[in-house]
């Protein structure tokens, strides 16, 4: 079967999920099964087909599994968000369409993604600007102590979601040029690059720390820095870089956890979620404790669609259920088995991403694919790790599933870039 037909076939499960999922939710909420869920499934299939046609025309050799995987994730997200709140689901569906437009625009306008290398300093500067934007008084917004969003009139968005793509592009291009220099000098039997070459990398570490202080968000800072370390490892093939890097990050994170109140609160809520004092405290461990209760309540097979207790009257039982805690809602309703299915799909997405990096022939493409994939992987780790109490909970979105416009659009751009890299790599490999 040719790659594109395989992709076409893969879009069917996503539409089936929409039909079955919406059907189950309708039944629970209105106790009647109309044909509306079939309509939704058909619309969703139509949108995915549009994306498929664009790929078929512009990137005939691209990886056939990425789009179906993304469609499946998006359909799970739409069903669960619809079940939580109908208005939000309508918003999310609109964002899904805008995301597809951004996806198509990236593929059509950026025929040769390697031109991005030429603008790397512009891209880096723009990304830094975007990162710091939420701290600008007037447009910046604070949510739960973290500065992530900005609001311009009616539009709210999280610039960090887009900044992460820019920074990965910059790092891929920078590391491609300097990676030979980074490993060229050895002292005392270990690789010890010159300060001139390691300087910009220390700058990135400083940036990650700065994000901790200014944006006060451990999750995004871990995402950026982890992506950077993965690229550094792939670029140099020296394990010493990620080891030292994680060490430095640990030291920095520990320092800020003990000095910055907001970060410290998160850590103590993580360590003792069931402490009555922390549980009652505003910004305490209520959210993480409730998330753990919800997941335990789900059991292996789940409570069923529409069964999760999200709020009683106006007081939320699961705060931020549609964004941070969406994984907890899914586990509550679909059980451990549903959670495992979701995580497996993310594993497949990440596997496809790294596979594209392996297939790519030039360093820039390899590093770009590695960086983009790692950032998505870490984002899943940060939020799922957060709600399952593996690491302190920080509010990042579950890619393609959580409610959130910026996240959907930015992740669609990431997938478009991966497809562009994959198309070139597979075409060259076939020759």
């Amino acid at each position: 079967m040719r790659a594109r037909n395989r992709e076409l076939l893969g879009l069917l499960p996503a539409s089936l999920l929409i039909v079955a999922g919406f059907g189950a939710v309708f039944l629970q909420e209105q106790t009647k099964l109309g044909d509306l869920s079939l309509t939704y499934g058909a619309i969703f299939l139509g949108l995915c087909l549009a994306a498929h046609v664009i790929i078929r025309l512009r990137l005939p050799d691209a990886d056939p599994y990425l789009l179906p995987i993304v469609a499946v994730l998006a359909s799970i997200g739409l069903v669960v968000i619809y079940r939580l709140n109908e208005t939000l689901a309508r918003d999310q569906a609109q964002w899904f369409v805008i995301g597809l437009i951004a996806f198509a625009a990236t593929i059509v306008l950026l025929r040769d993604y390697r031109v991005l290398e030429r603008y790397r300093y512009v891209i880096a500067a723009a990304s830094l600007f975007l990162l710091l934007l939420p701290r600008v008084p007037g447009i910046g917004q604070q949510a739960n102590g973290a500065y992530l969003g900005i609001s311009l009139g009616p539009v709210n968005f999280q610039p960090a979601e887009f900044a992460k793509i820019g920074i990965i592009i910059f790092l891929a291009s920078y590391l491609r040029d300097t990676r030979a220099l980074l490993v060229s000098r050895k002292r005392f039997g270990i690789t010890l690059p010159r300060l001139k070459h390691i300087g910009p990398l220390l700058l990135v570490w400083g940036l990650a720390m700065l994000m901790l202080v200014f944006i006060r968000d451990l999750g995004s800072s871990l995402m950026f820095f982890g992506g950077f370390l993965a690229m550094l490892y792939v670029a140099t093939d020296r394990l010493i870089f990620p080891v030292v890097g994680f060490g430095l990050f640990g030291v920095g994170a520990w320092f800020f956890a003990s000095t910055v109140g907001h970060v410290g609160d998160r850590v103590s809520a993580w360590q003792h979620p069931f402490d009555p004092k922390l549980y009652e405290q505003i910004g305490g461990s209520y959210q993480i404790a409730q998330s753990l209760f919800a997941q335990a309540d789900g059991g292996v097979w789940g409570q069923g669609f529409g069964q999760a207790l999200v709020s009683v009257g106006d007081s939320p039982i699961l705060p931020a259920a549609q964004t941070d805690l969406i994984y907890a809602v899914i586990v509550n309703e679909l059980g451990l088995i549903g959670g495992i299915a979701l995580l497996l799909i993310y594993v497949l997405l990440i596997e496809r991403g790294f596979r594209i990096a392996v297939l790519a022939r030039d360093s820039f493409s390899k590093l770009l694919a590695t960086g983009l994939t790692t950032v998505v992987a870490l984002q899943v780790f940060v939020i799922v790790g957060g709600v399952t109490k593996v690491i302190p909970l920080t509010g990042v979105t579950l890619p393609f599933v959580s409610y959130g416009g910026s996240s959907i659009v930015a992740n669609f751009v990431i997938v478009a870039l991966l497809l562009l890299i994959s198309d070139r790599a597979r075409r060259e490999a076939r020759r």
Partner: protein, 162 residues
């Protein structure tokens, strides 16, 4: 008030999810078992990260044929054109360069290819934008092997010696 139909739909939902996972895994495994079809032709990666293979791939002796540089893509050149390298050559934008590059990223005397001990060695001549051997920035003389790719700016060549 859990309805049987809802439970059935939910079971169908999970079933579709797992079937999808199984489908992708199966195809992926098949790709891995038949690596020749989709993988990059050429030497297998010699290390964990895979991009160093081209440089570390052993010092196979020079082939019996004439060493040549084949144009892959270069402004002002036809792809497939070949340069003989019997006595070496200078690559650059300047008049004296044996291999003239019509490339805005090239310096006038950009890089040199010389015959040393039976092999062609590539050396950057202090160019502004650097010379890339298999997408690695060249620092110091680098012996060339069959199939190595030399890139200066937007001009790319493949080294052939058999």
């Amino acid at each position: 008030m859990i309805q049987p139909t809802a439970v059935a739909l939910q079971a169908a939902f999970l079933l579709v999810l797992f079937l999808f996972v199984a489908w992708v895994v199966r195809s992926t495994l098949r790709d891995l078992r038949r690596p020749d079809e989709q993988r990059v032709a050429g030497p297998p990666p010699a290390d964990a990260t895979g991009i160093h293979s081209a440089v570390t791939a052993g010092a196979a002796p020079s082939g019996p044929g004439e060493p040549r540089l084949v144009v892959e893509r270069a402004p002002g050149h036809t792809p497939g054109m070949e340069y003989e390298l019997a006595e070496g050559a200078v690559m650059g934008r300047g008049e004296q360069a044996e291999i003239r590059l019509d490339d805005p990223y090239a310096s006038s005397r950009h890089a040199r290819l010389v015959l040393q001990g039976g092999r062609i060695v590539l050396e950057d001549l202090g160019s502004t934008n650097g010379t890339y051997l298999n997408e690695e920035l060249v620092s110091g003389p680098q012996p060339l092997h069959q199939g190595d790719r030399v890139r200066i700016g937007d001009s790319e060549f493949t080294f052939v010696d058999r």
